[in-house]
Amino acid sequence: MKLQFKNFIVKDVVFGNDDSFKDGILTFNKENAIKFLMDADEHLVSVNLEIAKPGDDTRIVPVKDAVEPRMRVGDEGYFPGVTGDVKKCGDGVVHALKGMSVLGVGQTWGSFGDGLIDMSGEGAKYSYFSELINVCIVAETDEENERHEQQKKNTAIRMATLRFAEYLGKITEGLDTDNVEVYELKDKKDRNPDLPNIVLVTQSQSQLEEAGYNALLYGWDMNNFLPTVLNPTEMLDGAYVSGSFMPCSSSWSTYDTMNAPIVKELFERDGKEINFVGHIASNLNVSLEQKERSALFVARLANMLEADGAIVAEEGYGNPDADFIACIDALEDAGVDTVGLTNECTGRDGLSQPLVTLSEKANAIVTCGNVSELIELPAMSKVIGNLESLARDGLSGGWADDDKLGSSVREDGSIIFENNSSFCGDQVLGWSKKKMNEF
């Protein structure tokens, strides 16, 4: 399988009469785009589109998902099993609009797993998406059944975000570029026997028993799932769609999986320092037995792939730490050297045990943030979405009232919240240029 990206670097996004991509400028007709989204889903009551750029004095909340605009050449429906048929991905030619994302934003209502992005200022460092041009779908839906639930599926907005990423991706149809990236897993016979065989293990959010909240793999809900082997190109090519329930800084947006820096880095070193031998897709579970079963299967698959080493990345914290540590233990017990990739929950005071369970076998961990770090930010002149949702709707890092701190959202528009609600802030799939330290 050979995945070839044709990268169209986006320098600016503007509304216009027609849809085009020229000289780095992506132009699209706003009315047509809104009509496309409304026609595609009767559950969307209203849709507006806004563009937020790095440096803007803009705060975006509640953000539900981020997706990179893509187009698979010669095919409709980019995300297999979700927006398209269940067909192989990770192979062939794909167009990508780089430097931008499509964000799904609630016009009014937020959910536990939603996050916040500041496009400039102190808050910008808490989200990767402050560095991108974001086309925001700001929508109201008729999903009354979950209106007052803290955990929402946000299906209509999430699906709209995927569809609109395809819509924008399609604007590049028929265009060509010299900016090409190629990813291809080597055949076994082409591996260098002197280099260690390394496998990637990802544990995606999947702990809600009811369908509709969990990460999807080729459209399959990962709650009811046993670990399987993927070609690493599949994750880069839309195999995953993000779930909705994880505290946001720990969450991996669909955009994160489509660009997973850890996958790209392993390809980069392949044949030089390592042999990249595959990707084991695992999950996060509810019961101890399920956690142990997944860990066991991961270790067995790693052995069958003849892995000398594994990198295990965890999407989440708290209870998922038990899956993370169980997986590391199982791999180490199976003779596979393991590195863990995670974030921590050390509390606002920094004094809590970083993971809920620890093991001396987990002796090589890369760590990307503290979910409960307290963040205080000044007001921004523009809000896309609904600022009050951070305090009102039970976002994982926000609160309506606190004896000492008051509400997360103050009358002057300034905010105080936990890193938990930074949009995909801890960037455990590899963007993270921050780490944890002892102070």
Binding site: P261, I274, G340, A364, W431, N437, E438, F439
Partner: protein, 352 residues
């Protein structure tokens, strides 16, 4: 100009060596030489007093010594306490930390000390204050004092002390996000797996504390002759909480006579009834029947039925929520000492 007090032992005060280790706390009429050195390294802060205490005196009279130290400082206006450096001197390290914590509690001042990694005081105190990494002996005085002074200077300017590695103190389990630019996590992770699989050195970003497992005790050969004690972290106390055990982050424990009590439920024979003061769980069930946390009623039945030999004259109690590992360890040791005196064979340890 901020003000600092310097705590040192009898030796560095020039009072004397081991023979003077029983020296009671006092404030020197003139700053000790080490205090003068410290003073010379501080910017915008002066050392206003040297307080001295003999290491043995402190170790053998902890509560009394702390009281005296606090009393001696009551008329002194100060913002910062520096203790030591204690180098590798174990008793000195224990005293530096203990005195500093007591002074902080009494006067709400920032506390700093320095010890060598082999000083047992490091493990005891590193979570409660900055314990800077110091030399093995007094030969390192100048360097150790400078490290402390640098941190104090930063603190006074309102600057961050920095990370444990930068400022050279023992990690104290206080972990926060560090925005100092580093390579992306993807690069760090692949670097680490390359190092680990090729047997090169690497450094984890999340050191896992050593598993401090206590070996399982020998089994009771004959339960019908065994004396059983009840110990709990569930916060069951007489309703007036006579030992003022804290509802969270406990540092105190209590032992209460149950030799004439048949049950902890209301009307069980004790002059007062029992309740829980634990702030970490819903107290309704425990208050309605404290036996459900400290199962004296069941144990009494078993004693009557001859299934166990006897029940200890007291039960032992503290609160487990938010309680630091250090305090829990100390209280455990203290309780175990009494259990030994009472010739207890086994303990039923109940949590919540």
């Amino acid at each position: 100009m901020k003000k600092a007090v310097h705590y040192i032992n009898q030796f560095f005060a020039g009072v004397g060596g081991e023979d003077q280790a029983d020296h009671k706390p006092e404030i020197l009429s003139e700053l000790a030489p080490q205090s003068k050195l410290l003073d010379s390294k501080l910017e915008d802060c002066e050392v206003v007093a040297t307080i001295v205490c003999g290491d043995n005196y402190y170790g053998e009279n902890i509560e009394e010594a702390q009281k005296q130290i606090i009393e001696l400082l009551k008329d002194i206006d100060f913002d910062i306490l520096v203790a030591g450096p204690a180098f590798r001197a174990g008793r000195y390290g224990v005293a530096c930390g203990g005195a500093a914590v007591a002074i902080k509690e009494a006067y709400d001042v920032e506390i700093f000390t320095s010890m060598n990694e082999e000083n047992p005081g490091v493990e005891m105190w590193k979570k409660q204050m900055y314990v800077f990494k110091g030399g093995a002996s007094a030969a390192a005085t100048r360097k150790d004092v400078e490290v402390i002074a640098n941190a104090v200077n930063k603190f006074i300017k309102g600057e961050k002390i920095g990370s444990a590695d930068e400022a050279n103190f023992f990690a104290r389990g206080n972990r926060h996000i560090d925005f100092t630019p580093v390579a992306p996590a993807s690069v760090r992770a692949v670097d680490m797996i390359v190092a680990k699989t090729t047997k090169q050195e690497f450094q984890t970003e999340l050191p896992i504390p050593k598993n401090d497992l206590v070996p399982v005790a020998d089994s009771i050969k004959d339960l019908t002759k065994a004396k059983i004690a009840l110990v709990t972290t569930g916060g069951i106390v007489p309703v007036d909480n006579p030992d003022r055990i804290q509802s969270a982050s406990a540092t105190r424990w209590g032992m209460y006579d149950i030799s004439n009590v048949s049950t902890l439920a209301h009307g069980g024979g004790y002059p007062t009834n029992f309740k829980t003061i634990h702030a970490g769980y819903d107290p309704a069930a425990a208050d309605a029947d404290p036996n459900r946390v400290v199962p004296l009623d069941v144990l009494k039945d078993m004693e009557k039925e001859g299934k166990i030999g006897s029940i200890d004259s007291h039960f032992y109690t503290t609160v487990g929520t938010g309680t630091t590992e250090n305090e829990a360890y100390r209280m455990g040791l203290e309780i175990a000492e009494v259990l030994h005196e009472h010739k207890v064979d086994a303990v039923l340890l109940t949590s919540t």
